[in-house]
Symmetry: C2
Subunit: 209 residues, 2 copies
Amino acid sequence: MKKDDTTPYHHGNLRAELLKTAAQELQSVGVEKLSMRAVSRALGVSQSAPFRHFKNKNELLTALVEKGFSQLAQYQRRAKKDLTPTEALSAMGIAYVNFACTHPELFKLMFSSQIYCEQNDGLSESKGEAFSGGEAFNELLGIVEEGIQQGYFQERPVQEVAFAAWSIVHGLAYLTIDYSRIGIPKDATHHLVQSALDVFMRGVSAEEK
Amino acid sequence: MKKDDTTPYHHGNLRAELLKTAAQELQSVGVEKLSMRAVSRALGVSQSAPFRHFKNKNELLTALVEKGFSQLAQYQRRAKKDLTPTEALSAMGIAYVNFACTHPELFKLMFSSQIYCEQNDGLSESKGEAFSGGEAFNELLGIVEEGIQQGYFQERPVQEVAFAAWSIVHGLAYLTIDYSRIGIPKDATHHLVQSALDVFMRGVSAEEK
DNA sequence: TGTACATCAGTGAACGCGCGTTCACTGATGTAC
DNA sequence: TGTACATCAGTGAACGCGCGTTCACTGATGTAC
């Protein structure tokens, strides 16, 4: 056990560094080219070292995804601070898209569900919590409920509205990621996201325009 | 050259069969586990045979994706037949989601942009046409324009509305694919899609409600 | 119609690659008395 | 404070695997005269 957290031992806090390096590697080469060996190499450590900290590759990826989800939830929480439900919903949407654009490969991995499906059929129970983006979705449900109660949004089943909101930002996220190199110029993206959210807000709003 | 198209030669129309088998394989194992060798094996043909018909794996995948896009456009065209713009837009959205759910792996591959990015940097010009889902997006632009001109939809820049529409159905498609095994029960999906589209249509509609 | 030749569409062996994971090991760290 | 021992976190060699792709080949098909 280390007393000195600031200056780790010569053989330091490998687990944390593995996660950090794996995240960088993921970002730069994508999931399908992410290899345990490359991560080890990047850290100057033997290729078997990671297996002291993660049972297998899948477990490393799972840890990455979990970190991703909590980071996303953080983005959301920050975005909605001190805003009316209408503004908050919009801000959270933009935060979602921003997260996706800042960490495109991580974002895709988070939602690819390719981690659990391959092997751990037995562990399915945990997915509902960790993998449906539960925390972030709960934020969303909260805002929507508030918005309806306070008369900002039209009366509709909360889950339906939340799901619709999730859909549009999810779509925006994917389109922005996949088409940033193609077709759509980078600077147009923000405007397109904004106007798509406007359309959505109008669809959900209690006011008549 | 074959005169008898119905009964191909003993060594038949391999190219077409490769595409068909690759599509099945893609559907059942996903892109990252799709291998040329597996396709060859499935067809009972030597593992080098495919390379007579496709320069490399990338070219096979590209062909698959192209077929996918034209099939998607077909879904769209069928859906909108003889409907008002409002109904058509909604029907096309449902068709889009249906396509995605029927061919989830193909759909993901189509939009993953992992095909071109790896190698063919020189071929980027063609992407605008084939890969931005051009044909399908044009269908969409057409409907939106019509809808605005005929007073069904609120006045707004056509591209913006079309992009917003695309976003929501794209998001619905991805969420439905990735969460069909998780959380959301299969039969709830259709209802959620429908209600998300309702919200969107309200946001875009010219009528005040 | 028959022969000679070119082309086409397969075969099968081989290449080199990077990967995930295991295993016996070693040296450093932490703990008990 | 010092010694004996257990545990921990690395090493490096090796395993077996499936892959994409190449290459010299062969046999069937198509073409010209």
